[in-house]
Symmetry: C2
Subunit: 226 residues, 2 copies
């Protein structure tokens, strides 16, 4: 006996037969991703989301249980989106685990990693900014903190820290490398936050090239032996 009430499905899973339902589910999630990402959990009302998604209020409950559930679904979607978007650099991760790297290899991997990350974050369409969502949740922990911390933030920092240590041929301590890792990643997400504001004065150009160049410079600037 798992559930007393077997009528009225408590939650709609992401996979099912009925096509229509999955579409509206996706539409709601899409809007929620945008709204929560831009304004945060408590600034957004369920009615706003329902309206923008073209559904009525109980639909949110029907598909996601409650507001918190919808927020968590967004977090999971973001994690998945990162995994997809950064699949090309999956090799980087495994490479660092395989064996110690020559410093120059580590630098190359770092550059590739940040280039891919910058491209991914700067290209996400529909003014959905997954990085902003994550940043907000890290800065002031909400319902989705644990997921995003465990699935994205911590592994990301660890990977970059590890690569930085190897790029410096051990010149940098774990702590020093960690500080640099956080600074570099933060610079990217912070840049994204500032982008709409920058676009006020400067044009709304494509910044990925400039950002990648700057990050390359930072990698190059890491302490090296000799």
């Amino acid at each position: 006996m798992t559930n007393a009430k077997s009528s009225a499905p408590p939650l709609r899973a992401a996979v099912d037969g009925y096509r229509k339902g999955e579409e509206t589910r996706a539409r709601i999630l899409d809007v929620a991703l945008t709204e929560f990402g831009n304004s945060g959990f408590s600034s957004v009302t369920t009615r706003q989301i329902a309206k923008k998604a073209g559904v009525n209020l109980p639909a949110l409950t029907y598909y996601f249980g409650n507001k918190r559930g919808l927020y968590l679904a967004c977090a999971h979607a973001i994690v998945a989106r990162y995994r997809d978007g950064l699949a090309p650099v999956g090799e980087v991760y495994s490479a660092t685990l395989r064996a110690p790297l020559v410093p120059d290899e580590a630098r190359t991997l770092l550059k590739r990693l940040f280039a891919e990350l910058a491209r991914f974050l700067l290209s996400t369409a529909g003014n959905q900014n997954p990085a902003l969502f994550v940043q907000r949740e890290i800065a002031s922990p909400g319902p989705a903190f644990e997921i995003l911390y465990a699935e994205l933030w911590r592994p990301g920092i660890e990977l970059v820290t590890n690569l930085i240590i190897q790029a410096s041929s051990g010149l940098l301590s774990e702590k020093e490398a960690q500080v640099r890792a956080v600074l570099m990643i933060s610079s990217l997400t912070g840049f994204l936050s500032g982008l709409p504001v920058i676009a006020r004065t400067a044009g709304k150009a494509d910044y990925s090239g400039l950002v990648i160049a700057a990050l390359d410079g930072q990698v190059e600037a890491l302490e090296r032996r000799g």
Copy 2:
């Protein structure tokens, strides 16, 4: 005729005779700074603030008009705090205006500026994080956006951009320099957001030295002629 109701002062200004009032006003502002800074405008309720400040609800209205007014007062307080905290580097600002700088001078000034900024931001007591407040407001504009943008963000970016251009002896374009400026400043504020999370695994040590060293490295890495 400025005001129909001359009874019941519509807002308590910051300066007045009555001592007690100014104290509670300051206490409310102090709590608001912490709460808004940590959680943002709409996550914080006026009751929370009133309770933590040891006053009752109408006190907020009495001193600040409404929630928005209190939030704006926080923004102004933050601007003032920045001005005070960064007074030592006021010279930097005037120096860049005086005359063109030799690249090495610009680098020195940049390092000093970031060192002071890092020290200031990493040392603000009472878990009040002015940078987080500003960052949030820039990332998703709220009632205090215009103030913080005009008084802090824009001038800060412009100053750093200007210094970076001079440090690179004109090798970097305005846009390239601006990207680097945003990245560097963002890295610092982003680091602050992540600090509580970092302190989870690593200790809650004093990071200002490490951060300043890393930022120095970034300044040193700026393109230079020859």
